[in-house]
């Protein structure tokens, strides 16, 4: 079977790479549209307040529900993703967003908008984001950091959305604008179709015992599987009978449960359980086991609906601690940079120039950091920690910046470090946890980040009210940025603890 495998590897590589770019492109689009929508909400805010009525506080609830649900909905979305697969989830997400926009055009009151715009859009964004992020992690094994950075650079383009939205509102009113946005969001449906479920790398040692079972199953299922498979691999392997492949492919696309025969469903559950294990190399042995103890497997391991295991994992704790504080450290200065510039006497024209430069620098630094991390000179989280520490130090020095050139230097430095660590969040998580369990981990991590996102702005505002100066927010952000990498010191010991537990 080796010649066959090598041939299939060579043929798989270009096709797989092509689809990987498709996934990155989709993630990029998601970033542009989702972030763009969230950022341009401020423009809709004015229109809503005037025309739909309601106080400032009520209308801002819509925006906060929308942006917080994007994070808080992640665990739920992780469950859906695991059940249905990424592609259907992403299409559902795009549908929710488009539908939410269209429904909002009929809105007559603020509570209606809270549900139609806040809830539906928030959930839709969560679906889209989670599916795209995990798919990127699954597809781009070797160059994850760089692909992630390219996709995140989409956020840099969102500054174009603001004048565009304003133009649309002037022309069509907020209802027409929402209608058109709904249409634009529906464009995410074809791009979600690019999220083709991939076949995991076939294990090097084929299990000969399963050959007979495998090839017969494969031949039966080849028809319904056609629409889901990355065809090259399937076809090449058929005659040589590397049979784990079709089974695992069936696993990746659970919607092909329409496959005939009760035997097949048993196989499915058996191998699904096997895939839930830590790495693909182990799956072969587990698949062997599952074939031998088929009925037993089914009863022993029911699929948990909501996988709470990440919460018990210390690695998750490490990651979430860092994620939470680094997000706080990122958001607070962003909010208060312009205000601080104004209090120092800098005009708002110059202040917006600051933001623009920071945005561009961040995008460029994300790409650079992603590329550097992919060179694998050292473990990715070392870079992450370095950026965080440097970013924290920069923030602590910020109160010393009292003139425009100094503030510009601060903004550029901060953007460089921010871009650096933001680009590495997903790759670091993948390094810590592996791709198989990424869904539930990312879901819960995003949930906790959402709590930070919800609490961050009010906390920043409270800090200002309490100290009457914006310098304190920067000190706070610096402190957060320095606290967040502390948890990574525990990473080696946490991994050892995990291994010990697994071997027990």
């Amino acid at each position: 079977s080796f010649p066959g495998q090598r041939k299939e590897d060579k043929l798989e590589a270009p096709a797989a790479r092509g689809w990987a770019w498709g996934v990155v492109f989709h993630f990029f689009l998601v970033n542009v549209l989702v972030m763009g929508m969230l950022k341009t909400f401020g423009i809709f805010f004015v229109a809503f307040q005037e025309e739909v009525g309601g106080s400032s506080e009520q209308v801002s609830w819509i925006g906060s529900i929308m942006s917080s649900l994007r994070f808080l909905g992640a665990p739920l979305v992780a469950v859906v993703c695991e059940k249905l697969g990424e592609r259907p989830t992403s299409i559902i997400g795009a549908g929710l967003v488009g539908g939410g926009c269209l429904l909002s055009t009929q809105a007559t009151s603020v509570p209606f908008l809270c549900v139609s715009m806040g809830l539906l859009l928030g959930l839709g964004f969560a679906c889209l984001y989670q599916a795209a992020a995990v798919m990127t992690a699954k597809r781009c094994r070797t160059r994850l950091a760089f692909s992630n950075a390219i996709a995140r650079s989409g956020m840099g383009l969102t500054f174009l959305m603001a004048p565009f939205t304003q133009l649309l509102i002037d022309f069509y009113g907020w209802q027409g604008t929402l209608l058109i946005f709904g249409g634009i969001m529906l464009n995410l449906v074809p791009s979600s179709m690019l999220l083709r479920p991939s076949s995991p790398r076939p294990p090097q040692h084929s299990s000969v015992e399963n050959q007979d079972h495998g090839s017969s199953m494969a031949k039966e299922d080849s028809e319904p599987l056609d629409k889901c498979l990355d065809g090259t691999t399937h076809r090449e392997i058929q005659p040589h009978g590397v049979q784990d492949l079709p089974i695992m492919e069936r696993v990746m696309i659970p919607h092909s449960r329409d496959v005939s025969g009760p035997v097949n469903t048993l196989d499915l559950e058996g191998s699904e359980k096997s895939l839930m294990g830590s790495c693909s190399a182990e799956t072969t042995t587990e698949v062997k086991r599952s074939y031998k103890s088929l009925p037993a497997t089914e009863k022993e391991n029911p699929q948990p609906l909501l996988d709470f295991s990440p919460l018990k994992d210390p690695v998750f704790g490490i990651f979430t601690w860092s994620f939470l504080f680094s997000h706080l450290a990122y958001f607070v200065p962003m909010f208060h940079l312009v205000a601080r510039a104004r209090t120092l006497g800098i005009s708002s024209m110059d202040a917006s120039y600051l933001i623009a430069v920071a945005g561009i620098t961040e995008t460029v630094s994300q790409l650079l950091s992603g590329w550097v991390a992919d060179q694998n000179w050292t473990k990715k989280y070392h870079y992450h920690v370095t950026y965080l520490v440097l970013g924290g130090v920069t923030n602590l020095l910020c109160p010393l910046a009292t003139t425009f050139p100094l503030l510009m230097t601060y903004a550029v430095a901060f953007a460089v470090f921010c871009g650096g660590f933001m680009a590495l969040v997903l790759p670091v998580l993948v390094d810590l946890v592996g791709v198989q369990k990424l869904h539930s981990y990312l879901g819960f991590a995003a949930f906790f980040a959402g709590i930070a996102a919800v609490g961050g702005p009010p906390l920043a505002g409270w800090l200002y009210d309490y100290t009457q100066t914006y310098a304190c927010s920067f000190l706070f952000a610096g402190a957060c940025a320095l606290i967040s990498p502390l948890s990574f010191c525990f990473e080696p010991s946490a991994q050892k603890w995990k291994l010990k537990k697994a071997n027990l």
Binding site: F171, G173, G176, V189, G231
Partner: protein
């Protein structure tokens, strides 16, 4: 002041008041001899100027609209310096950008007065070259005028049609006169944004079909290969 230029000042009055306008000469010009100061309103000269060391002032009793206007003081010495005072009622701001709404929908037009409370608000609609006052009791199911607070008025137009498109005026009546703000209403039919929307949806559907076809094609290609 500086010679050769003219200084202007706007004074806003909403109710009857006694006002004192004074022109003061900068002490760097105090060496001028033969200073002649004239207070004018338009072409009419005003008497009763009271003079102190370096300033000349007049006292006015503003009782009604006719007393408002532009007052000027002119100092003739070696050169001529003048200053203008514009007495006016509070300005009402309308909206620069048109309010966009759709047929069959409701539009709310808001007018605010800053700082001064008007006695009454009236809304006018422009029909051709005429301005017609909007009577909300007569057409109660079409218009509704609401004085939300002392300084803010809302005009709600229900069941919009194409004829409602145009310029509207909100007029605030003060004791000393009236002041107007301009608002524009644009009524669009649903077709207007619907066309780009359908175009975008069609494009998305085409892309979906293309991706789908490409997948089927690539599978068939491998089937044959």
């Amino acid at each position: 002041g500086v010679s050769g230029t003219s200084i202007e000042k706007n004074i806003t009055l909403d109710s009857a008041a006694r006002i004192e306008l004074s022109c003061r000469l900068d002490h760097k010009y105090s060496h001028w001899k033969n200073l002649q100061v004239t207070w004018k309103r338009g072409n009419e000269t005003i008497r009763h100027i009271s003079k102190t060391e370096n300033s000349w002032s007049i006292q006015l009793r503003i009782l009604d609209n006719s007393s408002l206007g532009s007052y000027s003081c002119t100092l003739k010495g070696e050169e001529e310096i003048s200053a203008m005072f514009h007495l006016q009622v509070p300005k009402i701001e309308g909206k620069e950008k048109p309010i966009v709404s759709y047929e069959g929908d409701t539009a709310v037009m808001i007018c605010k007065s800053f700082g001064y409370t008007p006695i009454a608000w009236t809304w006018y609609m422009t029909n051709g070259s005429e301005q017609i006052a909007i009577n909300d009791s007569l057409l109660a199911d079409k218009y509704s005028i609401n004085r939300v607070s002392a300084n803010v008025t809302h005009l709600k137009i229900l069941k919009l049609t194409k004829e409602d498109d145009g310029v509207y005026w909100c007029e605030a009546a003060f004791e000393l006169g009236k002041s107007r703000g301009k608002l524009k209403l644009k009524v669009l039919s649903f077709m207007v944004p619907l066309k780009p929307f359908l175009a975008i949806v069609a494009e998305a559907v085409i892309l979906v079909i293309l991706v789908f076809l490409y997948e089927i094609y690539s599978k068939r290609k491998e089937k044959c290969a």
